[in-house]
Amino acid sequence: MRTKRTSGFLLKFVIVAALVGFFSPSLKRIRQEDGTPGYRIKLFSQAQARRGGRGGGRSFRGGGGRSFGGGGMRSRPSRSIRSSRNYGGNFHRAPGRRPAASRPVSKRPTSTRPTKKPGSSRPASKPSKPSKRPVTTRPAKKPGTGQPNRPAQGPVTIQPVKNPAAGKPGNGNRPNRPGQGERPQRPGTRPITIQPIVNPGTGKPMPGQPGSRPPGQRPPGNRPPHNRPPHPPPYYGHPGWHDDWYDDDWWVAPAAAVTAGIVIGSIVASLPPSCETEVVNGKTYYECNGTWYLPYYEGSVLKYKVVNPPR
């Protein structure tokens, strides 16, 4: 009986002692940056702090959604929130822990189909459909994030893609974001072959692609055309009640492309600077650096057609 009581007491003592020891603050002597001794109080043991979800730390990756930290007193203020790729959420993956067999960029196997059927003039390979998933040449991370890149992920081959919307104004001609593509290649990664995306209309690389003109260096007046809204339906018979309130004439075509190689017959909406007016055979022309333009109104929009020099 007494033994049981003693053992019960001991058991309680052990449990209480363990709890007290577990939750009691610990005092640790540390040496501060200026060399003077100091003390640091910790409420939890190191093990518990870890158990709190990779808590806190400098990178705010603690286990608690986007709450910064969440790991207890061991959390120290971050030097930079942006230095972390993940703002918490327990999704942090230590560098190098990703298995090497990662997802390939393209699952489609290389076609073994013959390039041309016998007796058929149809091209063997269909033009590539616009992928629902855009092929991106975006680097793995933004520059300056300070996060190490992922390890090698196997062969990566980006097929040349032709822009299906090429030729349409304002579709998909967005240049790459600045500052990308300058990341030095990490050791161990396989070389990535990126072929320029080609505009099928012009055969020239799309903006932002290798070989294309870098953004911001367009000649003045060479803006890409806007997405002009469709012309309103004819006034008559339209069931609407205010179509003509809407004067789409305001949607003036912006300064059209004045490219280096101007084709006779092409039409622009504005002239380059320093043009001279010439009247030849009763017609008014503009002569701009050797290129001749014939102005005319297309509807109410003033346009200029590139023409041969008048005689």
């Binding site: 806007h226 997405n227 809204p229 004067d247 004439d249 305001w250 109410s300």
Partner: protein, 244 residues
């Protein structure tokens, strides 16, 4: 001291406007469509008028944003066949002149003008220009002589009540269908003149807005000689071709 005077004058003007609030106009209780038709009916029978307008239109930049285009217009109309439209603003410095069978468009910034032979009435000219050449005359909806037939509202509309717009009490109406919205402010007292209208194009992802505020200079007559247009000596005539 001067600022105080201006402030006092503003307070007085507001007090006068509030005092003149048309609490019992003929438009009270009228359906919005009837109010709009009433405005059309009043305007279409006017033999002449002069109006200034400020238009703010949105221009889409690709599909990501809209830019604003602002213009100031003056329109002088004298039926049956004379209209002068002067436009100055962000993208245009233009003159349109329709004068009894002759249409002239003159771009003042370039000195280039074009001419066409047109029907002799305002309505015929507006239709001819739109049908044959794709030329939308700005604010053409104020110019036709059969607005009640052409622009009969199909939607039932909403009456948002009275609003004070530039010191004028107006009925604020709204009409909507699945493609567009029209919001229009019509004078509640006196002549039912349209003071402002806003159009929202719901067919575009960016829901483009177009807002026009009108300032009526004269109704029933024009002042001065607004239809005299003397082209400068260095103006050049160029052809007008149909828009595709």
């Amino acid at each position: 001291m001067r600022g105080m005077r201006v402030g006092v004058a503003g307070v007085l003007a507001l007090a006068v406007a509030v005092a003149q609030e048309p609490k019992a106009t003929l438009m009270n209780g009228m359906e919005p469509t009837k109010i709009l038709e009433r405005a059309y009916a009043f305007l279409q029978v006017q033999p002449a008028f002069s109006v200034e307008a400020v238009t703010v239109n949105e221009d889409p930049y690709r599909t990501m944003m809209v830019t604003e285009v602002r213009h100031k217009l003056r329109i002088d109309l004298k039926r049956p066949g004379t209209v002068r439209v002067r436009i100055d603003g962000d993208s245009k410095h233009r003159d349109y002149l329709m004068e009894e069978g002759r249409f002239l468009i003159w771009d003042r910034s370039t000195g280039l003008y074009g001419e066409l032979k047109t029907p002799e009435t305002v309505d015929g000219t507006l239709d001819y220009l739109y049908d044959r050449f794709g030329i939308s005359t700005p604010l053409a909806n104020l110019l036709y002589s059969d607005l009640t037939e052409r622009l009969r509202p199909r939607a039932r509309g909403v009456d948002f009540g009275l609003r004070l717009l530039d010191g004028v009490w107006c009925r604020y109406l709204g009409f909507a269908n699945d493609k567009k919205e029209l919001q229009v402010w019509i004078r509640a007292g006196g002549d039912p003149l349209i003071q402002r209208f806003v159009l929202i194009d719901k067919t575009t992802p960016l829901r483009l807005h177009s807002a026009t505020t009108l300032h009526w200079l004269s109704v029933g007559r024009v002042t001065g000689k607004p239809f005299e247009l003397n082209l400068p000596a260095n103006a050049h005539r160029i052809p007008i071709e149909p828009a595709p």
